[in-house]
Subunit: 275 residues, 2 copies
């Protein structure tokens, strides 16, 4: 009962490393292959059709690497492409971050009002709204695209005055008045690194949740249910693949993984023929 095949983790870039970090903490014996489609990031400003096409191309690379499961550690791709990926990558199971994030939000709210911040494309797709209402249709949901947060996180401006000002601009209007939400779901894997600046803007009465820990729990459950876990005493590990610039992946990736990434440990992979 020890399936030593790796788990594939896919994101448009480096933000999904916040999910990989949670996965490695929750599943210390597992091996992971993380793929960031850095040649085409960000997905969050692109159309559903384009994101779906990119995600299918990219995740096929993980299938070729014989992964036993694919985790879509990208809210935008989970939002617009999860059904298609699940169908096309079968029988390899596919797990996204939206449904775990929706569950985390519902578990946290007391007043049944949840705010969700995400990329433009995730908000436009409405997947959080549907996922929350599928669990509890009585919960009020307000959504806010917060595209600038992606650039701020990648710049490493996690606690800067700029990020506090951006947090106020995006969030203050959502949390005014007596019917303000008591819970904020971070619906983009870039955003957890900005949590201190976000708390400055919304105040400490608001509970902030992200999908990293709940996604890791979902993955653990699915591995157990399908008999795919590596239950040995192996020491887990992660390999990194990127479709562009290993140097930038390593440098920016550290912000999200929370530990050093050596440039030499990031492999450049090519997804399509260049002219």
């Amino acid at each position: 009962m020890a399936d030593k095949r790796p788990i594939g983790v896919f994101d448009s870039g480096m933000g999904g490393l916040t999910v990989l970090r949670a996965l490695m903490e929750r599943l210390p014996s597992e091996r992971f292959i993380y793929l960031g489609d850095t040649a085409r990031l960000p997905y969050g400003t692109k159309s559903a059709e384009t994101v779906e096409a990119y995600a299918l191309q990219a995740t096929r690379l993980l299938i070729e690497a014989s992964v036993k499961m694919v985790v879509v550690a990208c809210n935008t791709a989970s939002s617009v492409a999860l059904a298609s990926l699940t169908r096309q990558l079968a029988p390899v199971p596919v797990i996204g971050v939206i449904e775990p994030g929706a569950r985390a939000g519902i578990a946290a709210t007391r007043n049944k009002r949840i705010a969700v911040i995400a990329t433009e494309s995730t908000v436009k797709g409405g997947a959080y709204l549907r996922a929350i209402h599928a669990i509890d249709a009585s919960v009020e949901v307000v959504q806010q695209p917060a595209q600038v947060f992606v650039a701020l996180a990648e710049e490493g401006w996690t606690e800067s005055a700029v990020t506090i000002a951006a947090s106020r601009a995006y969030l203050a209007p959502l949390f005014e008045g007596p019917s303000a939400p008591d819970t904020l779901v971070l619906g983009c894997t870039h955003f957890p690194v900005l949590v201190k600046a976000i708390l400055e803007a919304v105040g400490d009465k608001v509970t902030i949740v992200d999908s990293a820990a709940t996604t890791a729990a979902s993955v653990a459950d699915a591995l157990a249910a399908k008999g795919l876990a590596n239950e040995g005493k192996d020491k887990g590990a992660a390999r990194f693949l990127a479709t562009d610039s290993p140097e930038r992946f390593a440098r920016v990736g550290e912000i999200f993984l929370g530990r050093k990434i050596e440039k030499a440990d990031v492999e450049l992979v090519d997804l399509w023929p260049k002219p």
Copy 2:
């Protein structure tokens, strides 16, 4: 002596519309085809190899549309791919924005100290440094990547407190002390729309220049020199092509073009086969 073929204008996205605007003002009888590679934007965080491959694919589409000249209205692509584009698109002439921007900076500086802000990839490629020193090797140049400005411009936060804070974070250290530059070159076509916030940070003694007007003058000169100008009394026009989401191109593009763009006037084009 009236060459009615259109001029191709190419950018990774919508920022190059600041250059198109200057071109339309300078050359009111010319027709333009503007192509934004929005499916793969931004170029500014991507490697030189990837940007070159993307730029070649995209500009071929303009050649197929029988343009008489290609203007690379993207600093990143001009910085890393101009030589290659010039070679591969010959005999169609190719004009970039770096050399005109360098000339504008040199024309403006009195103390022979110029600061350049640009994308990560433009700074890394060092093209402004080389272009300025090719004209005057005695000019001191400091370069600063300012990647967050791209997201702020696309969000339309042109004069917001967030943009002023970001301008201070990037620029205040460059303009301190008695040997501060007196000129700031905006080395990314997104940045001209942020000029008010940038002035808040650097003070009004600094001259801010961008390459839009000087590029338009270079294009006018090249058209005249090669006998390619449309010297009639035609009313100029522009067509818009985008590789993703005409809706977002129209919405965000207005910020840079300074006038309304109808979604129906933006044509979706495909650069590569989807899976």
